[in-house]
Symmetry: C2
Subunit: 256 residues, 2 copies
């Protein structure tokens, strides 16, 4: 099979990591960004000669146009582009029907992972959830996805939104809790790495038992003495978070 | 060196896991619990013939009396017991001076880990933080700790409290976020294991970069469209948590 020809729209974290992985087995034929400097930087990194900041200059012969742009921009870009090839966005929260301009051949290519600019991404650990307007489109997206990830699933727009909101709790909010812990430790000259064994076990436990069953800590025991002492050690948002999450944990378990 | 003689006070998760580990290299000579059934169950599991629910019946010849009881009970038990051997509690939040009755030889033996009844504990991953009233007591506690864990550190009462409150964020609140994610996925017939790669990467990232730098997600991008859509999918405490944590993340990064 010949290599798929891919146009990348976007130059942020997702566009960068995804296009770098795809370039191993597909041809990145163009990079679009509304900022030409960003488009050129990413295109250069991919050894792709074609960078543009104009939707009017998009190539017309790509197999797949992959929109790794902000959620707000998807509909507008889709509406302004010619109906050629397969158009797919990479968002967890935007429904497929936003691509109605391209409704005969459109899809979603959603990598469920946290991408940071400064951290390498191992695509062996990036589940990709796909949706296609028709079987041939779905198949083309599956072919592309399987080249970079061993974990490829189908998910319709509703399921993808559920996955995304669950991921916000499991990843984004979890990371924010680690930020609070890091703040507290730094103020005492301690390093977050001191909690590494605890973090590993916290995550290991939920492979075997449900997190609701794995819950421990002062709030789980409704240990108000410790909770009050901790609140007095904290201030600002950390104190607010400690208070409100402790109350919610106490409430959840008060019948048990 | 002869085996240390340990009396265990308590029969909860910490007492159970800790005494089981200690029994490999030390002699558990007695188990006390205010509930004699619990004391007997734990003593039987440790092949220890002596279980009691009476502080008046405590053995007088143990080397170390280890109080793995609820924080509220520590001071009262310490005050009611004879001043013989070393008295140590296992709490992150209770200061050493609560053991003033035993002030000549007292200490703290704090395992910084999450203990659940149904999950095996690998003490190779349990950092133990120690405090002793005097060098000889600290040394005796170090000897005991090193028999079960490779990660043994000293920490005074203030530092221990800081570690404990940081651990509440990093472990207890993190687990509560996973509980929310699990609830959301279950309601759609999905399993939390679908997020395992995301959880692993979330944790791996903070080995290399600070969590404040690793933050991603709709709130980090101040993507109000996604945030509003997500809030509409949620109800009850999950919606409250989503709203309040998103606001705090937006606030933290709004200058960046």
């Amino acid at each position: 099979m010949s290599r798929q020809r891919i146009a990348i729209l976007g130059s942020g974290n997702v566009a960068t990591h995804l296009s770098r992985a795809l370039s191993q087995t597909a041809d990145i034929v163009q990079v679009y960004s509304r900022d030409i400097t960003h488009a050129r930087m990413l295109a250069d990194a991919l050894h792709c000669p074609n960078a543009t900041d104009s939707l009017a200059n998009l190539v017309t012969d790509a197999d797949i146009y992959l929109m790794a742009v902000s959620d707000d921009a998807i509909e507008q870009i889709a509406a302004a582009t010619p109906d050629t090839g397969i158009w797919a966005h990479t968002s967890g929260s935007i429904a497929l029907d936003v691509l109605k301009k391209h409704k005969s051949r459109c899809g979603v290519f959603y990598p469920l992972q946290t991408f940071s600019r400064t951290t390498e991404v191992d695509f062996n650990r990036v589940p990709i959830f796909l949706e296609g307007s028709d079987p041939a489109t779905a198949e083309a997206l599956h072919t592309l996805a399987r080249q970079i990830s061993p974990i490829v699933n189908s998910a319709d727009s509703r399921r993808r939104r559920v996955l995304h909101v669950a991921a916000v709790f499991a990843c984004n909010f979890t990371n924010f809790m680690l930020t609070q812990a890091d703040d507290i430790l730094r103020a005492e000259g301690l390093d977050l790495s001191i909690l590494t064994p605890l973090l590993e076990v916290t995550l290991d436990k939920v492979r075997h038992i449900a997190p609701a069953e794995a819950q421990t800590g002062p709030a789980r025991r409704a240990d108000y003495g410790v909770i009050e002492a901790h609140k007095h050690m904290l201030s600002g948002d950390a104190a607010d978070i400690y208070d409100s999450l402790s109350k919610k944990i106490i409430k959840r378990y008060e019948q048990n």
